[in-house]
Amino acid sequence: MGEISFFLRCRQTFICYVFATGRFFDSPIKIKKQQSVPTNAGRGFCTVRSRGRGGGGRFETTAYLNGGSSSSVFGGFEGEMVEKVPAAVAAEKLTGASMMEQLVPEITTHALSYLDYPSLCRLSMTNSLMRKAANDDNAWKALYHKDFTLEQDSLTPVNGWKAYYAATRAIMNVNADFFNIIKERSVSAMEHFGSRRL
């Protein structure tokens, strides 16, 4: 009996060593594998890359539609909405030389509602107060309804109307690209289109 139990223990110890060694060599490989797995699996968003053709320039946007995630993948768009106006503006307000501050917010919004997408983006460049005005949700809602559709009136986009507008615009550009390819019946362009989307 004694000999058998000794033999069993030896075997157990040996197996332990084998496992330990296995794990030791195995673990780095496992980590490597995990890194290579794409991390965006299992989330309900769609990624759209588009290249504006008609606009003649590069317009690449990663669009989140109802993504629910609040990470600022949206370049500056989303971040801009959340960012707070620095204290410096409050100081400037007191000295009050700017025309923009003398105007009532309704007027500003009203005037901005006549601007188009690139103009509003440029306007937000001028200073933080202007950016706040140019990022006004109602202005973007109005612009969305003007440029796209009036149907989605009851909808409230998670990340605000500006992000929603940009996402829709990106999708529209992709659609336009796609229809152009169909119209031209170009196989090579279609292949290119498919690979670009991925």
């Binding site: 923009m100 105007l103 007027i107 009203h110 188009d116 983006c121 440029r122 202007m130």
Partner: protein, 163 residues
Amino acid sequence: MASTTETKQKKMLILKSADNDEFEIEESVGVQSETIKNLVEDGFTFVPLPNVYTKALIKIIDYLKKHANKTDSNDEEIKTFDKDFVNTTFDDLFELVSAANYLHISCLMNMLCQTIADRIKDKSPEAVRKIFHINCDYTPEEEAKIRKANAQAFEGQFDESLD
């Protein structure tokens, strides 16, 4: 109500600007402004306008008079008048738009806002800053970041003029 003036059976209104100048206009002209209309309905004929300065008020009364006599035949004339009306400096436009907002004259409001929007539409951020008399409160890093985020808005040539 002592200042009520009756001429040729037409009801007249007195508007008083922020600089204490008084203007007499016909009621039918004045009621194009919602603010004045409400006061008239409450029986007022003397209307103090503490937010509207004489300079803007003169122009606005001109506008109201022109638009009160709107018929099918003078459509072109009014269009020309409107074109001249908004052909002014940005500072004047801002003053007019504030006054129009206070007086609730929606057609004038729409026209002025449209004009302002059209005129800043193709301007560079630098020009817009000068027009609105605003200081850039961004650091160069912040500015670069926002410029990058709005890259597609910076294609092509921009208007650097200030009028």
